[in-house]
Homo-oligomer: 197 residues x 2
């Protein structure tokens, strides 16, 4: 079997995690989402909550440090580096599906990588975070927009490129066709790339 | 049969026209690319060469007029309006595949519309414009980049959005998997949307 990685970037509430999980099960690949947070926490000795927050905190933390004129590599950067190395190790080890964490960029020189971006209409995502993810937020539409902004800001900062720019991905897809249907379409793309039989 | 439209935005050399044509044949839809230029030329009395150039000229022409402080609706705007109305008429009339011309934006309120963006690695596109399109250019890589810039600039100007931004499309796809394969994937997406059986 060929060694390959599928990276899934996703808008909040677009079902990216579920799609990634379905896909991984269907193609027999390892699946990493929160698992990556646990692994990074173990290696750094930092808490999982802290690692989970990297996606939100790093840019502002750095910008603030730059503004204050006292930037030195900090614990956010260190955690990011550990996580990036983990992503590379995971990709080398075997077929895998990795959700989030700028994995598409971290694996940019990795030949057998299929880069996916999942999005969906805002209203649908707002509905999903309440009904399926059970998030307790006052204004779900505002909540998903806040998340989009955070993820875009983090991605753009780390990669110096644009989150959701078609050319950064093999395929971007509006998941409102359904979770299973979207996972199936990614599987077909992988077949077309010759990564799976 | 349901009435629907597929719009195909495309990087130059990505095979967008060929993919659109294959798709239209496969699903039994009318196909519009240069055909739209001919129709617009007939309705406006302008030459086909002029209409073809709208995608390049409009923004700079407008910006120049604004700069000179003498902007008035001009022949570019008029041709654009005629073309936009034609696109709406075509979409109302029956199943169709429309390549380029900001059709995704012009049909933004059209419910049964599947919006596609096709791209491919620069080197592959540079090779295609020489070997398949027979373009006689000194530097094919520079040529495709120039086209990208023009199309992006035109789209961004007309739509006040970003050309190639995933969220503007149902699906964006790297066509290096092959022309037929890409057309097939769009067909599957249309099935998943319930637009074809």
């Amino acid at each position: 079997m060929k060694n390959y990685a599928v990276t899934i970037a996703r808008e909040h509430g677009s079902g990216g995690r579920m799609i990634g999980k379905k896909l991984a099960e269907s193609i027999g690949a390892d699946f990493y989402d929160r698992e990556l947070i646990t692994l990074t926490a173990k290696q750094t000795g930092l808490s999982e909550a802290f690692i989970k927050d990297i996606e939100e905190k790093k840019p502002s933390s750095l910008l603030y440090s730059l503004y204050m004129g006292n930037y030195v590599p900090n614990v956010y950067d260190e955690a990011f580096i550990v996580q990036s190395n983990l992503i590379r190790t995971i990709a080398e080890r075997g077929p895998c599906v990795i959700v989030g964490r700028c994995a598409d960029y971290i694996l940019k020189d990795y030949e057998n990588c299929c880069r996916i971006f999942i999005h969906a209409p805002t209203e649908l995502r707002a509905k999903r975070i309440v009904e399926e993810y059970g998030e307790d937020v006052k204004n779900p539409v505002a909540a998903v927009k806040r998340w989009d902004k955070k993820r875009a800001s983090y991605y753009n900062f780390v990669t110096q490129s644009i989150w959701g720019r078609a050319q950064n991905y093999n395929m971007t897809i509006d998941s409102s066709i359904g979770i299973d249907e979207t996972a199936d379409m990614i599987k077909i793309y992988l077949m077309n790339m010759g990564l799976i039989g």
